[in-house]
């Protein structure tokens, strides 16, 4: 029988080092293969073959791309500010790779030396750490665009900072309902409370999930929100002047943000590593690893096992993979917003809607608490109904032509100006 206590001492340090190495490697490999997936899926959507020359089904294409990026010539524009030009890509890639540290990725693993939590750093401010790092990510984009001393790059970085500041507000507000339900900001507790509710938060907080999804697309600068690098308007925006590995660092940063955002969506709204059923539930409560409470309120001990860790890791991977696929799917399906549409959506729709939704969820929780419905299945069911009504209302309101008009839709009221009829006298009469 293994000890059901958190691992500590030398083996704790060893486990931490292994987790850091493992998570870093995993994120980099996933990033590499997401670029391949992007090209393959876009090819399928457009009825092409995609990369198919390097290795079977093009599986070695990311390695070839990496070698190509290392061997390409480094360019340095003559008018660029050298120091900030080099600093930009570094500032972009660091936050992208650091965020994953607070995301739990599997059920706790029992070892002979103690239980290892499958998370790099379970810090007490989990979600806030994610928000802090995502708000720092904009510096890399802004600095590199400014240092390039190129008007397209500069316009791209201005758009990036405006867009990220705008959507950060809605991102933060869309998280508030989750935090109100959880009563804590650590992501391990977010997973644990979803297990206790018997609902993944995507159902009781459906509108919160939609708002988070839209804000996450805007924060990662992915289509339909890729204004900072709109190819048809700005060449490629803030990384126009970059080549070789510096360009590749922006690329890795973008895909790193995508991986992290997908993992966050899975954790916050789809149970994280939780799989359906209560067999895998496990979280720390007053120093004990428990799976929940019985009817009398006494804790039930959890029994972790290595196969549960492996299965939940697979479940987490599947959820993340789905959201990555969703990112790619949306990119190759939807056209880009116009810039004023991005700002209108951010300030006039996302912000008021998320604020109102926070109030609605808070009110519902207050009412449920007052009439004595305890945190559990009924609680989740009522919230699901309330959120479902809100979601349906928002989707009706946002429907085409009510708020955001398509660029090509002619206005209904102004009829085309008719040409004045001019009598031209015929010659010879």
């Amino acid at each position: 029988m293994e000890m059901l206590e958190p691992i500590s001492g030398f083996w704790g340090l060893a486990a931490s080092a292994l987790k850091v190495l493992g998570v870093f490697t995993a994120v980099m490999v996933v990033v590499a293969y997401t670029t391949l997936a992007e090209r393959k899926i876009s090819a399928w959507i457009q009825d092409r073959s995609g990369p198919n020359r390097v290795g079977p089904w093009g599986m070695l294409q990311p390695i070839a791309d990496g070698i190509k990026n290392f061997l390409k010539e480094e360019t340095m524009p003559g008018t660029a500010n050298r120091f900030y030009f080099v600093l930009g890509p570094m500032l972009a890639i660091i936050p992208a790779l650091m965020t994953f540290a607070v995301i739990p990725f599997a059920a706790p693993l029992p070892t002979p030396w103690g239980v290892v939590d499958m998370i790099v750093a379970d810090i007490p401010i989990g979600v806030l750490y994610v928000l802090a790092l995502s708000s720092l990510g904009v510096y890399g984009l802004v600095i590199s665009g400014w240092a390039s001393n190129n008007k397209y790059a500069f316009l791209g970085s201005l758009r990036a900072s405006a867009q990220m500041v705008s959507y950060e507000v809605a991102l933060g507000l869309s998280l508030v309902p989750v935090l109100m339900l959880v009563g804590n900001v650590t992501l391990t507790q977010v997973v644990a409370q979803q297990q206790q509710l018997d609902f993944w938060f995507a159902f009781p907080l459906s509108l919160g999930f939609i708002l988070f999804l839209i804000s996450a697309f805007a924060e990662t600068n992915r289509l339909p929100f890729d204004m900072p690098e709109a190819e048809s308007e700005l060449v490629t925006g803030y990384h126009t002047e970059y080549s070789s590995m510096k360009f590749s660092m922006f690329f890795i940063a973008e895909y790193g943000h995508m991986v992290t955002a997908s993992a966050l969506m899975a954790t916050l709204f789809f149970g994280g590593w939780d799989l359906p059923g209560t067999w895998d539930d496990a979280f720390w409560w007053e120093g004990m690893l428990i799976s929940g409470f019985d009817a009398a309120g006494a804790p039930i001990m959890a029994n972790p096992a290595w196969w549960k860790t492996v299965l939940t890791l697979g479940g987490f991977g599947a959820k993340v993979a789905f959201f990555l696929f969703f990112y790619i799917w949306v990119r190759w399906t939807l056209p880009r917003f116009r810039y004023d549409q991005v700002m209108t959506l951010g300030w006039k729709v996302m912000l008021p809607v998320s604020l109102a939704y926070v109030m609605i969820v808070a009110g519902t929780i207050l009412v449920l608490d007052t009439i004595g419905v305890s945190y559990g299945f009924t609680f989740g069911l009522v919230l699901t109904a309330v959120s479902g009504v809100c979601t349906a209302g928002l989707l009706f309101f946002l429907d085409r032509d009510r708020v955001i008009k398509g660029a090509s839709v002619p206005t209904r009221h102004d009829r085309p100006v008719r040409m004045p009829v001019v009598e031209v006298p015929l010659s010879g009469d």
Binding site: Y84, P124, S135, L136, F154
Partner: protein
């Protein structure tokens, strides 16, 4: 370990604070300012005030400084190093305010006059931390004892935003 880390963060904070005021390029000053804010956040973490650290980075480094950078870039202050820092009287006022702040802090920490009667002693704070956690210690007084000043601050900010909008908006006849 914590002492070494404190010295590292304090050194970075002070060094980059000097960089903010001594640098000639506005963009460099701004980045030094971000570094100062980040190192102060590091010191907050060492004090186990994780929440303050996160808010410091989110609000100051992530939002306000980005806005400053936006303005600096729009005005294109970065590339021509003009001397647009006011001297003389402005510097005097700045030194006077800084000196007053330093004096207040020194009196507080030398255990002199009780300038801040609303602050409890270290033991009381430790007890409150153990009972309510880092978030509760901040949130509870904010929404109970100090709720009126808190809301008034909010209204003040709202008025400032509305004022800025009114000033900035073009008059359309």
């Amino acid at each position: 370990m914590a002492d070494i880390l404190f010295l590292v963060f304090a050194g970075i904070a002070l060094g980059s604070a000097l960089g903010v005021v001594l640098g000639r390029s506005p963009v460099a000053s701004l980045l030094f300012m971000v570094m100062t804010l980040a190192s102060v956040a590091g010191i907050y973490v060492l004090l186990e005030a994780h929440f303050l650290a996160a808010i410091q980075v989110i609000v100051y480094a992530g939002a306000i400084m980005v806005l400053f950078m936006f303005v600096i870039m729009l005005l294109n202050l970065g590339h021509d190093y003009q001397r647009d820092i006011r001297g003389g009287a402005f510097a005097l006022v700045a030194f006077a305010v800084t000196g007053a702040m330093a004096g207040l802090l020194a009196r507080r920490f030398s255990g002199g006059a009780e300038l801040f009667p609303f602050l409890d002693g270290a033991d009381a704070i430790d007890a409150a931390l153990a009972e309510k956690g880092a978030l509760g210690v901040i949130a509870e007084p904010l929404f109970t004892t100090y709720v009126v000043p808190f809301e008034i601050t909010g209204i003040l900010l709202l008025v400032a935003i509305v004022g800025a909008l009114v000033l900035a908006k073009h008059r359309v006849s």
